[in-house]
């Protein structure tokens, strides 16, 4: 039973981080927006949804929607400085922004519960299930979200919007010369990514039913980056695969703690060390990741040949 529970937990976390990785990949892999503050979307989605549920008592689907909307709005705010900051400086700004968000959650105790976080967050449709079967339901809910977002993001990246986004990533000046409003397109990409990240946050909060600022440290962003570096950028399947690999490693090594002669602290450090090594190996030997960006081919077998 515990093994099954472990796998259900693992798969649910892969689903949640899969959403976060797809969101990050949409920014980094498609739009070329180097976001080192991805955890901010996660944090805002989680806090918004759980506070709407615990403080006001709004029905949970609306809390999820609220988390997505606020996180999307935050994506809009984050995209504003792309106008004046070059991409590397913008990346630094995002890192700082995410920390500011976490510090607000830590210090505005009247709203967020400060370091004690938000407790007893209600879980959707809990009354319909027993304590044993609920995790399975939640896993299915998470997987439906992943499939839905995968489908929506694939439609977007395959559309003229997705083409514009990729073109801006590769040659922004050219896009300007063709009359593309590149600022607006980047803004839209950030809003889309923010909403996906916010959904992941809401799913996470209502799953573990207790959140605190500890859940939203910069190291989470690092994990999401590891996922898209390993899985591959510029395609959505790579992000999910990367989330699977990194989470499998990250979660399962927590449970073998009892079997290795190491203190929990050194285990945690060792875990990060190994993920860091993995990143170095991938960046050096397989920079495109496990799954490459897909080329869009027209007339695969036309008279013109390839």
């Amino acid at each position: 039973m515990t093994v099954i529970n472990f796998f259900i937990y693992l798969l649910t976390m892969i689903g949640i981080y899969g959403l976060l990785a797809m969101s990050l990949n949409f920014q980094v892999g498609f739009a070329g927006l180097i976001n080192f503050g991805q955890v901010a979307f996660f944090c805002i989605g989680a806090y918004t949804s759980s506070l709407m549920a615990t403080k006001i008592g709004i029905p949970l689907p609306f809390c999820f929607a609220g988390g997505m909307i606020l996180s999307g709005l935050f994506g809009y705010l984050m995209s504003i400085p792309t106008k004046s900051l070059k991409s590397d400086y913008w990346a630094i700004a995002t890192l700082a922004t995410a920390e500011v968000i976490r510090l607000v959650a830590l210090n505005e105790g009247w709203l967020t519960g400060g370091p004690f976080g938000v407790m007893t967050i209600p879980q959707p449709f809990q009354f319909l299930f027993s304590r044993d079967s609920y995790p399975l339901f939640y896993l299915i809910l998470a997987l439906i979200c992943v499939l839905l977002i995968y489908f929506v993001l694939s439609l977007l990246s395959d559309s003229p919007f997705g083409r514009d986004v990729k073109a801006i990533r590769d040659e922004e000046e050219l896009c300007l010369s063709l009359g593309k409003n590149t600022r607006q397109i980047k803004l839209q990409a950030m809003v889309v990514a923010g909403m996906v990240g916010g959904l992941a946050g809401a799913l996470f909060a209502h799953y573990i039913a207790f959140i605190s600022p500890e859940n939203f440290r910069p190291i989470e962003t690092f994990l999401m980056w590891a996922m898209i570096i390993v899985g591959g950028r510029g395609n959505h399947a790579g992000a999910i695969l990367g989330a699977g690999i990194i989470q499998l490693f990250n979660v399962s090594t927590r449970f073998i703690g009892g079997y290795v002669p190491l203190s929990p602290d050194s285990m945690a450090s060792l875990r990060m060390l190994i993920i860091g090594l993995l990143i170095i190996i991938f960046v050096s030997y397989r920079p495109e990741g496990l799954i490459k960006e897909k080329k869009k081919v027209y007339y695969p077998k036309s008279r013109h040949g390839e």
């Binding site: 559309s159 003229p160 080329k295």
Partner: protein, 251 residues
């Protein structure tokens, strides 16, 4: 069509453009020549909004455009190409062509998701036009190759293709044929001329080859040290002694 008045641009103490005034008429091909460093590309960069001017005025279709962002200037119908051709490397040639099309549907997330049928129809039209243009440019066999894998000359061709795809009222071409083989150069010049005559566009072209200039241009401006040195028909320019000395190396 395009009117430039006393345009100035400085880089530090260097006067890249020193009170340049010129007028490009509609429905014509104008050339811009001058030695290296004379300010030709700078002029294009200022006109297309990529550089800020330090003085003067620019009018396009009777409307002031200096101070506007490059994308707004492009949307008003003034499109430029780059001397070192740019092409999004992870888009194929066909995608590059379709990227340039005007009035696309599905260019924002909302319409991309909710007007998919209309998007698909417009995409099909743009795809067909892209294929026609690629035939002309002899790039059709490479249509599914990444633009990043092309040679410099092929990227130049692709830039022209994108401009034809966008179909603006006025085109600024910055050395469109540098790096393109001579036969294809002449074909391209013919294609530019044909397009211009068929659709009554204005073309303003930076070009080093006097042969190319005299074969297609109605009028030529000569820049030297950021100043307009001469203007006239290609035949007049070729006889202008000042130009011969500065540009053609004396005779």
């Amino acid at each position: 069509m395009l009117k430039i008045k006393d345009l100035q641009k400085n880089f530090g103490n260097l006067r890249a453009l020193d009170r340049v005034s010129l007028e490009v008429e509609g429905d014509s091909i104008f050339g811009l020549i001058g030695p290296n460093g004379s300010g030709k590309t700078t002029l294009f960069n200022v006109v297309s909004g990529f550089y800020e001017k330090d003085g003067g005025e620019i009018y396009f279709k009777e409307e002031r455009i200096d101070g506007l962002t490059p994308d707004r200037i492009a949307r008003k119908g003034l499109c430029r190409t780059f001397q070192i051709a740019k092409a999004p490397e992870k888009l194929t040639i066909l995608e590059n062509m379709m990227l340039a099309a005007k009035n696309q549907v599905g260019e924002n997330p909302f319409s991309a998701l909710f007007t998919r049928r209309r998007t698909a129809r417009v995409e099909k039209e743009n795809l067909d036009r892209s294929m026609e243009l690629l035939e002309v440019l002899q790039l059709v066999d490479l249509k599914n190759e990444y633009a990043g894998d092309l040679s410099g000359g092929q990227k130049k061709l692709l830039s022209l293709g994108r401009v034809f795809m966008l179909n603006p009222d006025m085109i600024l071409l910055d050395e469109p044929t540098a790096g393109v083989n001579p036969t294809l150069t002449m074909q391209l010049m013919k294609a530019i001329k044909e397009l211009q005559q068929r659709e009554h566009k204005s073309v303003f072209i930076i070009e080093h080859s006097m042969k190319v200039i005299s074969s297609i241009c109605d009028k030529v401006f000569v820049l030297n040290f950021g100043k307009k040195m001469a203007e006239g028909t290609p035949a007049e320019i070729q006889k202008n002694e000042k130009v011969l000395e500065a540009y053609l190396g004396g005779a």
